[in-house]
Amino acid sequence: MDSISKKTKDSPNSTDSPESTHPSSFPDEVLEGVLSLLSFNKDRSSVSLVCKDWYNAERWTRTKVFIGNCYSVSPEIVARRFPKIRSIILKGKPRFSDFNLVPENWGADIQSWLVVFARVYPFLEELRLKRMTVSDESLEFLAASFPGFKALSLSSCDGFSTDGLKAIATHCKNLIELDIQDNGMDDFGGGWLSCFPENFASLEVLNFASLNSEVNFDALERLVTRCKSLKVLRVNKGITLEQLQRLLMRAPQLMELGTGSFQQDLTPRQCAELESAFSNCKNLHTVSGLWEANSLNLPILYPACASLVFLNLIDATLQSGELAKLLAHCPNLRRLWVQDTVEDKGLEAVGSCCPLLEELRVFPADPFDPDILHGVTESGFVAVSRGCRRLRYVLYFCRQMTNAAVATIVQNCPDFTHFRLCIINPGQPDHLTNEPMDEAFGAVVKTCTKLQRLSVSGLLTDLTFEYIGKYAKNLETLSVAFAGSSDRGMQCVLGGCSKLRKLEIRDCPFGNAALLSGLEKYESMRSLWMSACNVTMNGCRLLAREMPWLNVEVMKDEESDDSHADKVYVYRSVAGPRRDAPPFVMTL
């Protein structure tokens, strides 16, 4: 960006006016050549606003497009503006669909996009989808339509099965990446892996950890052997330790590894072989998987731990002692994901062993069982904050928290950019003082000036939202549940958080006044979700009427009364109202 502005200053004929058709001193090729170096889409958006010439130069050179809400724009509009796209990221359903708040068949089907892309972007190489509906037919169509297709990533998608994966494996001759994460898909067996042709050797990323069916190990081993550029391999829990050792011997160049089951009873010789395999992997910086890892087998990892940057223990139910022993070998860890079975003691070990830690996620091992009392508490979080001053991303599920603890935590770690605290029991107060948790989040927003993402929980009054509106000036994403006392809460946020892009609210006492206070704001946001609040159909209709560039969609629950708007989804769109909305989605 800097180099470009320097060039325009030096040039005698730099843009005189926004509508300048005056020939620029740069031939198009030069301008385009320069602009093609821009990789960040935010920069590109800024560039495209300078003048028509720049807008055109930018659109001809853009190769990657990111569409955060698939209904904000239509495939035809994208195709018209950007003729040379090779890489697309598309996100579909509202995030709360991950938690079953969006009924099935809501939409976000990739097929209509693929049809357009097949026509306009035959050289499409990458497709990364999140919360989209993808059918097997779509995957087959994809495999057939794009001969140069290289990378497919599916995260939180639904509607497809391993049959679709078969099509991808069979027909995508240039595939570099196949990344299947956390989808609502049908698993009809591991045969898809055997569909990669015997001469296929281009794979660099393969992630099938979330698939349950066993794959043919021989086919996998052969695949790994011939894909010499394989950097990321995440297998599923059907792969045993013994098999893992063979894979590691074939792929010592791996940078990211997801192991299979870590439970096997190993002979000393097998242990030694595995340790040796791990120490051979000089580039390994990320490890995940580790299903059913126990203290006998974890030491196999030690030779690789010194260079580990990201350790994902979300599938390994470790206790505090096991974690402590493991982390003692991981001084360079930057990111750690664990289950709360490690308890506060385990988190103390995190604090003492991993001073460089930047990201911590603690997931509840048994989130839906109301009888569970163990897990992590405020002490564990405080202990981490004392030792890991560079923390910037935290996701923390706990069953108790105090205002004082959070205040201490953010004092220790003022650089938080993402602070997601989930106190599991809805509306639970500070467990020592019985007060609302307002001051906790007040401390967060006051101290962490770089905060971009915040999820709040616990017993919260409007005061929390006053704080957020007043202090969280860089906040982009806010998630609220079971909180607030009145419309004022939401009004404060909408009025104060100038950079807000995504606001998702459930089960809060915010009504029409709150909804309508954001009238002008929603166009600068990606989306608003409100469910189980006090918004009525009339309020939504008013919003829709006043703001034609917004899509205001309501989903009603079966048994609620007519005037209540149970689930409201508001988003800006240049594509107009949805044409594929199912009957239960009302566009107002």
């Binding site: 709360f96 991950d98 938690f99 079953n100 708040l101 939180s156 956390d182 609502g184 698993d187 979330s210 349950n212 069916s213 439970q263 299903w291 059913e292 126990n294 006998l296 979300i314 599938d315 139910t317 206790q319 002692g321 289950q339 079975t341 997931f363 509840p364 091992a365 048994d366 989130p367 839906f368 069982d369 109301p370 009888d371 599920f397 989930c422 599991i424 029991n425 809805p426 509306g427 639970q428 107060p429 017993l459 998630s479 549940a481 079971f482 459930r506 089960d507 809060c508 006492p509 469910s531 189980a532 006090n534 629950d557 079966e558 048994e559 609620s560 009364d561 209540h564 149970d566 689930k567």
Partner: protein
């Protein structure tokens, strides 16, 4: 810890549960609720409580709402057509011991106490989706919630939230009924696939944090189509399918595992097709389990050890639903052999 309670449950006899119920009915709030309920047809949360009376004990009259006197004779009096007809199907479709229980006008069930509330709450979450929301669907403007107000201190005035996916509470966010620990749709915000993974992990490590997996208990949840709450059993306490079958029979009083259980399964490699058909046609209910792969399998195909090692939960399914399982069970048998 809930461990002692769960042990009691497995060998639960009528007397012990009656003791528990009398403990609870003696608590003031519970009896208040009972009388409030009887007196008052107005929509309120207490009506939607799921409570079951013990054999011989008074079960509160239910008028409208989600009356869950599951096995009680007052079923016939209820006006709620759909709900009741479904319950009646459940009632009449069951075999053997169950109809005995009915005839004696004995209402077999358990009142809520701390332990059962756990199962109840868990059951609600797992129960409604599995049973296709049949029982809860017609709970019109009631919010079905499984709060046991008698059981826990209110403490937190958080809103009552419905279990069933289709319901949200429009306006009663600050209702007076204490929250206890009612389960809420989509809360905590964890993806459900991850829940399954964790449940699988935990069923190996549960209750004995420091021991290796496999040497402790193997508690698995048992759900029954049509029952309002789930139970938990420790598979380690049984040695074969027969024991499991009879324990479950006692627990649910009305289900059968068919020939499977009664013959045990010494060295069988799998169930032949004809036996499967016998099983399915001979009984209204079929016992199935979810294995580590997340597949639903017919119980009885594999040796007991293999079963306990791979079972993560049990479900007593209606025979008609289980028909779809049979071909897959056969396939898996064939694949394994």
């Amino acid at each position: 810890m809930s461990v002692p309670l769960e042990h009691d449950y497995i060998g639960l006899s009528e007397t012990s549960s009656m003791e528990r119920s009398s403990d609870k009915t003696s608590s003031s709030s519970s009896s208040t609720l009972t009388s409030e309920y009887e007196n008052n047809n107005v929509l309120n949360l207490k009506e939607t409580e799921l409570r079951l009376g013990l054999p011989g004990s008074e079960s509160p009259e239910r008028k409208g709402g989600l009356g869950m006197s599951l096995f009680g004779k007052d079923l016939e009096d209820e006006p709620d057509g759909y709900l009741l007809s479904h319950l009646k199907n459940f009632v009449s479709g069951a075999k053997r011991g169950f109809s005995d229980a009915i005839d004696g006008s004995e209402k077999w069930a358990l009142t809520m106490n701390g332990g059962s509330e756990v199962d109840l709450a868990k059951g609600a979450v797992l129960f409604s989706p599995r049973c296709g929301n049949n029982l809860l669907e017609k709970n019109n403007t009631h919010k079905s919630c499984l709060a046991g107000p008698a059981m826990k201190d209110a403490g937190v005035p958080s809103p009552q939230k419905p279990i069933e996916e289709k319901k949200t509470s429009p306006s009663n966010d600050n209702s007076s009924a204490p929250a206890a620990k009612a389960q809420v749709v989509g809360w905590p915000p964890i993806r459900s696939f991850r829940k399954n993974t964790m449940v699988t992990n935990l069923s190996k490590n549960s209750d004995i944090p420091d021991e290796k997996s496999g040497s402790g208990c193997i508690y698995v949840k048992v759900s029954m189509d049509g029952a309002p709450y789930l139970r938990k059993v420790d598979l380690k306490t049984y040695c074969n399918y027969a024991e499991l079958s009879s324990a479950l029979e006692k627990m649910f009083s009305c289900f059968t595992i068919g020939q499977c259980g009664s013959h045990g399964l010494p060295a069988r490699e799998g169930l032949s097709e004809s036996r499967l058909m016998d099983l399915l046609h001979g009984s209204e209910y079929v016992l199935t389990y979810e294995d580590k792969d997340g597949d639903w399998m017919l119980v009885g195909d594999v040796p007991w050890e293999m079963f306990t090692g791979s079972c993560s939960r049990l479900r007593i399914m209606k025979g008609s639903e289980a028909i779809g399982l049979a071909p897959r069970a056969m396939e898996k048998c064939k694949n394994r052999n």
